[in-house]
């Protein structure tokens, strides 16, 4: 059977670092990039005798995420120990949630070529991150950095509802958008604050029995997620096609070679000996707390996109770009309050503002002008005080300096000339110098009109009111 006769089945596990100031079970900072082992204390170093104390903020973030993904938030959840030996795991166990996680039975909508698709979220649980081992540190030694040990994580596990690599990537992007919108995660795949493992299996099309699954690790970009899943699907199909059996194993994606290799087989799988964490009582969450978190929940990406379409009458394309990040959407809305033509505003955002931000490598939060100042500029363009083209230069200057549009227009002399007499003089001059072109125009070569407009504008250094220039040219040319 060719690949097309097989149905891939994919489930994803996401580990998202939470944007809390301090670690999950101690007061150490979670800041990234500190000197190794600087952000540590006896608790996250796993000293004898020390005990964990839960950071309540982590629970708040978990509930927030659970509600955003329409999960059931469990009134009682239980901490467990996951036992294994590794040098970057100071206690010899990770405190996590196992039997009873804080959130279950959620869902997330994604877009597919066939339309919207609902992906079920099986569970969300809280846990602590491990530290980082640095191998090949020289002298045959490995070094351990425990700054990350105890940084709070949410593990978000989907049901195996995804059917190809593109859906997997769509799900991850949608999930990341939600987490970033909620302010619980920075969505950074490179730095590993948003990590993904994929469980992949294939089965003959039409079958209802899932095939043996393999777990893929080290997928630290959307591109690698897609590549690794596609590679894995064809690898499994090849195995089955050649009469073999897919083995349950964990495979590591090799970014450089574009292949995955086996990391450990089922036989080497750890027995984590989970048991309830005796140092932490079960976590009880009241209905009042859940409701309070629910009330404080921000508008989520999908809802915001739909509202931008309905409220502002924007095309879905525009709305998607404008709502991709919450600060951009907020800035747009602040401007829209002061400038009524949302589509025109959107054009300025998409065409100019995003380009300026990209060139500067910054985000909307660092924009130096206010929504009122942008509205002022767009009003000036509408009123013809400045041409649309010159307006772009004004915006670029506002972007650099934060100065107001009128100041810049005045200083740079960019004000549009709408004085009929002045324009007429230039038009007459241009026509007088180009008798030959006039002939061509009158002979029916109407493109030449653009030539005259260009000549007039050039002579006026772009400041001529285009509508007036057009009008006068047409009159003089006898149209």
């Amino acid at each position: 059977m060719p690949v097309s006769d097989f149905q891939p089945v994919i489930g994803l596990e996401v580990h998202a670092q939470l944007l809390t100031q301090s670690k999950i079970f101690c007061g150490c900072s979670t800041a990234f990039g500190a000197e190794p082992n600087r952000n540590t204390c006896p608790v996250c170093l796993g000293m004898p005798g020390v005990l964990p104390v839960l950071n309540e903020r982590v629970v708040d973030f978990a509930i927030r995420t659970g509600l955003a993904l329409e999960c059931r938030v469990n009134a009682k959840s239980v901490w467990s120990r996951k036992n294994y030996f590794y040098p970057d795991l100071p206690k010899g166990y990770q405190i996590t949630q196992y039997d009873l996680p804080i959130c279950e039975h959620g869902k997330l909508l994604i877009d597919t070529p066939q339309g919207e698709k609902l992906i079920r979220v099986r569970r969300i649980h809280m846990e602590e991150d491990a530290g980082k081992s640095v191998h090949d540190a020289g002298g045959g030694q490995s070094l351990v950095d425990l700054n990350r040990a105890g940084v709070p994580l949410l593990e978000i596990v989907s049901e195996p509802d995804l059917r190809d690599a593109d859906e997997a990537v769509e799900y991850l992007k949608a999930l990341r958008d939600v987490l970033v919108y909620l302010g619980v995660n920075d969505g950074n795949l490179d730095e590993g604050s948003f990590r993904c493992d994929a469980n992949v299996s294939v089965m003959p099309k039409g079958s209802s029995t899932y095939g043996q699954r393999c777990e893929l690790k080290n997928l630290n970009s959307f591109r690698f997620v897609k590549q690794a899943i596609e590679y894995e699907i064809s690898r499994q199909v090849d195995v089955i096609e050649s009469g073999g059996k897919v083995d349950q194993e964990t495979r590591l994606w090799d970014v450089n070679k574009g292949v995955s290799r086996s990391m450990r087989s089922k036989e080497d799988a750890h027995d984590y000996r989970y048991f309830p964490e005796p140092d932490l009582p079960p976590l009880h969450v009241t209905t009042e707390v859940i409701e309070a978190v629910g009330h404080a929940l921000p508008e989520l990406p999908r809802a915001k996109l739909q509202r931008f379409v309905s409220q502002y009458g924007l095309p879905a394309y525009d709305a998607r770009i404008l709502t991709a990040e919450r600060p951009l959407a907020d800035f747009f809305e602040a401007c829209a309050l002061r400038y009524p033509d949302a589509k025109k505003l959107s054009n300025w955002f998409l065409g100019e503002l995003l380009r300026l931000l990209k060139e500067e490598g910054s985000t909307v939060s660092s924009v130096r002008f206010t929504p009122a100042q942008l509205a002022e500029l767009l009003g000036a363009v509408d009123q013809g005080t400045v041409s649309a083209n010159a307006g772009k230069d004004v915006l670029a200057e506002m972007f650099l300096t934060g100065r107001s549009a009128p100041d810049i227009i005045a200083e740079k002399g960019l004000a549009q000339v709408s004085d009929t007499g002045a324009i007429e003089a230039v038009v007459d001059d241009i026509l007088a110098k180009n008798a030959g072109e006039i002939e061509k125009y009158r002979a029916g070569k109407k493109q030449v009109f653009g030539f005259f407009v260009g000549q007039v504008m050039r002579a006026m250094k772009g400041k001529g009111n285009p509508a007036l220039v057009n009008e006068l040219l047409k009159k003089k040319l006898g149209d």
Binding site: G46, P52, G92, Y274, F275, D279
Partner: protein, 486 residues
């Protein structure tokens, strides 16, 4: 009478009256340690400089009329399971040899704040796993009443030091009887508070859901005074109960008239030494004479406590002791090649046989495929044991029972027979599994002059009543006035 023969409160009274200084009391202890400890071996480490500095500070406070607590200046000792900042703490294990903690346990901090000079660290069974102090990686401690015998365990060093008047009091920990049994073996008072009453922060963990620190003293009133300092809610321990601290001494002398004391029939099983049973029975009659009503009660799941304990405690221990891997502190097998060998050599050399036995037991009980049959089943039985206590405490105010089926046994006698050693704990384990408080008070001696203790068990957070019941007996029979012949 020597200074060291005083009880804590007697010394405190003299300190308050200016008749003696804390430095004098501390020096008296240090001298006595020097003289008798070679025979007892209660101390792993004596902190002479630290204790004297604290004593001087205490004397200054007393002189200024600003004592930090009623026990300000009374020197005590610590089981070597409590972290002491800057002072080596080993848990009686080679794996922590040379480990100098960067912090004080919460209870150590509370003692320091209350002004008690800390004389040093006392011997124990390795990681508190044992009932005779013989699993200490360093040396066994001897019973001051008969140096050929065990002082019990695992807080044997604490009990022996108190009984030998090397310290005025001590802290122990009790996971399955480790305060009460050594107290019974040494004619001292030991109190295991309600689980959650005293902070476990900075106490090296053996079995987290069972461990509980508590006072070990010569008198009931001393235990009450020491508990008064220790029993504080601690935000650093999430299992510490946010319960107000009552005045433990207030009702001490109110007697037992009108109280209903349950006598659990399962605690008088066959195999108890006759003289031990006789002493305990005599104590029960004494309570009747003092006006209490004895009620025959049943705790039907007692017979499963031993099996339950030896699944839950080792399971937790197997996880708690995973951190001793040679990577960050303590022993490290420097000759190891590779990570796996670093782990295996460090742990092979660092842990003694009893610790290894319990790690293996616990690892097995938690393993995939066995978890339900062992750990989970044990947790269910634990619930039944807890319910036994809840039920009887609807009818009676407290329970009175033996601590140990035997009097102190010879050192070496049971070392090669772990099962019979485990059986020593049969009457003390249920209390830990249920989380309720338990107290051991001296109730007599065998003909050979070996101490026997009486156990009093109560409702959660009812320590004040246990102390009052114990005091009623102590007032009539002041066995504490008998001093160990050392």
């Amino acid at each position: 009478m020597q200074l060291t023969d005083l009880t804590m409160l007697e010394l405190a009274e003299k300190l308050a009256a200016g008749q003696v200084s804390s430095v004098e009391a501390t020096r008296a202890c240090l001298e006595r340690i020097q003289r008798v400890d070679p025979k007892i071996r209660a101390f792993l480490r004596v902190d002479e400089a630290g204790a004297l500095a604290a004593a001087e500070a205490s004397d200054a406070r007393r002189k200024a009329g600003t004592p930090a607590s009623p026990l300000d200046g009374v020197p005590v000792g610590l089981k070597d399971l409590f972290l002491t900042e800057g002072l080596e703490t080993t848990a009686g294990s080679r794996v922590l040899e040379g480990f100098v903690p960067p912090l004080d346990a919460t209870v150590v901090r509370l003692l320091r704040e209350a002004g008690l000079p800390l004389l040093g660290k006392l011997n124990l069974d390795e990681f508190a796993m044992g009932s005779s102090n013989e699993s200490s990686a360093y040396f066994p401690t001897h019973n001051p009443w008969d140096v050929t015998r065990t002082p019990g365990g695992s807080s044997g060093g604490s009990a022996a030091a108190v009984a030998a008047r090397e310290v005025f009091g001590a802290l122990g920990t009790d996971t399955g009887g480790s305060i009460r049994q050594p107290a019974a073996f040494t004619n001292t008072v030991g109190l295991k508070p309600t689980y959650g009453r005293v902070s476990r922060y900075g106490v090296i963990a053996y079995a987290s859901s069972l461990d509980q620190p508590g006072p070990m003293t010569r008198t009931v009133a001393d235990a009450a005074a020491l508990l008064q300092i220790l029993a504080q809610h601690d935000p650093k321990d999430s299992t510490s109960a946010p319960v107000k601290t009552p005045d433990y001494s207030a009702a001490l002398e109110q007697g037992v008239r009108g109280l209903k004391l349950g006598v659990p029939r399962e605690y008088f099983a066959q195999g108890m030494e006759e003289e031990v049973e006789a002493s305990v029975r005599a104590a029960l009659r004494e309570y009747e004479r003092l006006g209490a009503t004895l009620v025959d009660v049943s705790l039907p799941h007692t017979q499963y406590a031993l099996a339950t304990y030896y699944l839950i405690a080792p399971a937790e221990a197997s996880s708690n002791l995973a951190r001793y891997d040679g990577v960050r502190y303590g022993l490290r097998a420097k000759d190891a090649r590779g990570l796996k060998e670093l782990y295996s050599l460090t742990r092979e050399r660092g842990f003694g046989p009893e610790v290894k036995r319990r790690i293996m037991l616990g690892t097995y009980a938690l393993s995939a495929g066995y978890y339900d049959a062992y750990y989970l089943r044990a947790q269910k039985v634990r619930t039944l044991i807890r319910e036994d206590f809840t039920r009887v405490f609807q009818d009676v105010d407290a329970l009175v029972a033996p601590i140990s089926p035997v009097a102190p046994f010879k050192l070496g006698e049971k070392v090669d027979d772990p099962l019979s050693m485990y059986l020593m704990d049969v009457y003390t384990l249920p209390c830990n599994l249920a989380g309720v408080p338990g107290l051991s008070v001296p109730c007599g001696f065998t003909k050979a002059g070996l101490p026997v203790g009486l156990q009093i068990l109560g409702r959660a957070f009812d320590e004040a009543l246990l102390l009052r019941i114990a005091r009623a007996f102590e007032r009539e029979h002041d066995f504490f006035r008998r001093l160990a012949p050392i």
